[in-house]
Amino acid sequence: MAQLSIRSVSKSYGAVQVLDDVSVEVEEGSFVVLLGPSGCGKSTLLHAVAGLNPIDSGTIVIGDRNVTNLPARDRDVAMVFQSYALYPTMTVAQNIAFPLKMRGLDRRTSDEKVAGVARLLQIEPLMSRLPRELSGGQRQRVAIGRALVRDPRLFLFDEPLSNLDAALRTELRAEIKRLHQSIRRTMVYVTHDQTEALTLADKIVVLKAGKIEQTGTPLSLYDDPDNAFVAGFIGTPRMNFLKATVADDGKALLAGEARVDITHLATRLENGRAVTLGIRPEHLDEKDGVTLSLSVDVTERLGSTSYVHGALASGESVVAERREDQPGFGETITLRFQPTRARVFDGEGSRIR
C-alpha cells in the first residue's frame, strides 16, 4: 500500500497554473525525490502535502486517510523547511521538544526522546543555545531533529541542503541517506540538485512548470529518459544534443558528417525527418564506434578524468569526457560512441524508442 498518494492535484495562483494534474505514489518506507528547476512548483506541492497550502482540485491520501481537507496539525507529517524555520525564541532543546509538547507528551518521556535525537544528530553540546547562535549546518541538524523526534507517518524535506557549502552538503547528504536506511521511514525530498536526487532517491519525480515529466528510479531516468528535458536535466555535465536527419534508407541518422546506425530502434522513421540525437559526455570516449571530430576550446581537468568543451564542424558545441589524454586549446580530437548509446528525440523533445 502506498504511504502517500497525490492524485491529480492542481493549483493556480491567479492565472498562473503552478501545479497541473500532478499524481505521485510513494511506497511505504521509500525515499522519493521531487526534482525540477527553480519555480517549477516543488515547494508548492510539498506545502500542499503538509496542509499549508490549499489545493484547487485533486486528492491527497496519507496512509489510509484522505487528508485533502484536514489542517496541517492533523496530517501527522514532519517537515524540514528550506529556511529551517526554527523557532527563534526557543533554545535548541525547546525547538526539538515543541512537537512533543503540542501532543501533550509528559516531560520525562519528552526529555528522553529529545536526548535520543540529540545523540543521533550529534548536537548534544548545543542544546541550550538559541538558533541564531548556531551555524547553518547545526541549524540544519536541529531542523531535522525536530522532525525526527516525532515518528510521523511521513517526512517532508524542502531543499534542506541548498544553503550549505559543498563539503557540508555532501556530508549531510550522506547523513540523511544513513538516517533513512536506519529508520526506514517514508520520505519525500525536494531539490533542484540532480546529484542529490541521484544519490538519495529510490524514485525520482521530475517536475517542469507544474507538470510531471517523468517518474522512475535514478538509473531509469539516466538511462532511459522519456524526453529531452529529463535527459538534459539528469547527469552532469549535461547530455549533448545534436541536430540530425533520417537517412535515405531509414536505418541511420546523419549528424554532421557522422552516420549513426539506428536499426536498434523499434520505431521506423521516415526519410528526411529532422530529429535530435542525445549523447552523454561519458559515452563519447569509446575505443570504436561512430566518429565525430571536435575542435577543442577548453579542457576541465578533474584529476581522474577531464571534460573537453569544443565545437563540431557543424558548429554545435559538445562536451566530452576524456580519460586518457588532456587535449589543449585548438587541437582537433576524435570522439567515438556506440550508436546504441545515442537517444533519439523528435521535434517536440519526446523520446523515439
Binding site: 503538509a50 496542509g51 496530517r75 517537515m79 524555520a85 523557532y87 527563534p88 525564541t89 515543541f98 503540542m102
Partner: protein, 293 residues
C-alpha cells in the same frame, strides 16, 4: 557596538562636537535646575531667595496633593500603556496579515496620531459633554443612564484615558503591524505542521517573536503617558476636585499659578528620577542581560 568610530575615522570631526555640545547643554541645564530646586525661588518674593537645602524635597513627601498626583500618574500610565498595547496587539492579530483594504486602513490609522492634541482634546470634550455629547446619546440608545463624564471625580480620569487610548492605540497598531510583516512566516507554518493549534501558534511562536517590538512600543507609550499634559489641560484642567491632576500637571500649577518656581522644579526632578527608575526596571525585565530569550 559595531559602529564605534576608531580614532582615525574622520567622521568623528562631525559628530564629536555635536555630542559635546549636547552633553554640556544637558548637564548644565540639569545642574542649574537642581541648584534652583535647593533654593526657595518664588516669583512672589523675587530677589529674596535663599539656600534651603532639601526642604523642597521634604515638603514634597509631606504634600498630600503631590502624593495623590503621583499615584494618579502611576495609575494613568499603567492603564494607558497596558490597554493600548493589549488593544493594539489584538487588533493586529485580528486583522491578519493580508486583507483587502489594508492600505486604506493604514492611512486611516494615521489620522488620530497626526491630529494635534488640542483638537483631540476638544473633540472628546464635546463627545463627553453630559448634556449634548455623543457619548451619552449613544448610551441612551442602549438604555444606560447619563454619565457625567468630565464632571464626576470618579470618572473624569477614565474619560481622559479613553481619549488617550483613542489617539495612541493606532500608533501601537502601526508599529506592531510593521513588526509582524517583517517576522518570518515559516516558523508559524512549522508550528502548524508540528501540531499546534492557531492560538498555540500565536502564543508560543508569534508573540515571542514580536516581544522586542512590543517592549519598545510599551516603553515609548509609558514615557509619553507619564509626560501627558495636553489632553489633561484641554479636557479637565486637572479637575474636577483635582481628580485628574497628574504630577506633571501639578508641577505646572505650582509654577504658573502659585509661582513657586523652586518647588515646581523639585517636583520635575522627582518626576524625572521616578520615570527613570521605573523605565530602567521595566527595561531590565523586558530585555534580560542574557539575550532576548
Amino acid at each position: 557596538m559595531s559602529t564605534v568610530a576608531t580614532a582615525s575615522d574622520p567622521t568623528r570631526h562631525f559628530f564629536q562636537p555635536v555630542i559635546v555640545c549636547l552633553t554640556v547643554a544637558s548637564v548644565a541645564l540639569t545642574l542649574f535646575v537642581i541648584w534652583i530646586s535647593l533654593h526657595d525661588l518664588s516669583l512672589m518674593r523675587a530677589g529674596r531667595e535663599k539656600f534651603v537645602g532639601l526642604d523642597n524635597y521634604i515638603r514634597f513627601l509631606g504634600d498630600p496633593r503631590a502624593m495623590a498626583a503621583l499615584w494618579r500618574t502611576v495609575l494613568f500610565t499603567t492603564l494607558a500603556t497596558v490597554i493600548e498595547i493589549a488593544l493594539g496587539l489584538a487588533v493586529v492579530l485580528f486583522l491578519d496579515r493580508n486583507f483587502a483594504m489594508k492600505r486604506l486602513v493604514r492611512t486611516l490609522l494615521l489620522v488620530p496620531i497626526i491630529m494635534t492634541p488640542v483638537v483631540v482634546g476638544l473633540t472628546w470634550r464635546f463627545l463627553f459633554d453630559s448634556a449634548t455629547g455623543m457619548a451619552n446619546y449613544l448610551l441612551s440608545l442602549v438604555g444606560i443612564a447619563q454619565v457625567d463624564w468630565l464632571g464626576s471625580p470618579r470618572i473624569a480620569l477614565f474619560a481622559v484615558l479613553i481619549a488617550d487610548i483613542w489617539q495612541w492605540t493606532p500608533f501601537v497598531i502601526l508599529l506592531v503591524m510593521a513588526a509582524l510583516e517583517s517576522a518570518p512566516t515559516d516558523p508559524l507554518n512549522a508550528a502548524r505542521v508540528d501540531g499546534a493549534r492557531e492560538w498555540q501558534v500565536t502564543w508560543y511562536v508569534l508573540l515571542p517573536m514580536l516581544r522586542r517590538a512590543l517592549a519598545i512600543v510599551a516603553l515609548i507609550r509609558a514615557i509619553d503617558s507619564i509626560k501627558a499634559f495636553d489632553l489633561f489641560y484641554i479636557m479637565t484642567r486637572g479637575g474636577p476636585a483635582l481628580s485628574t491632576e497628574t504630577l506633571n500637571y501639578y508641577g505646572y500649577i505650582v509654577a504658573f499659578t502659585n509661582f513657586d518656581i523652586s518647588y515646581s522644579l523639585a517636583i520635575a526632578i522627582i518626576l524625572t528620577i521616578f520615570t527613570n527608575v521605573a523605565l530602567l526596571t521595566m527595561y531590565s525585565v523586558l530585555f534580560p542581560k542574557t539575550g532576548d530569550r
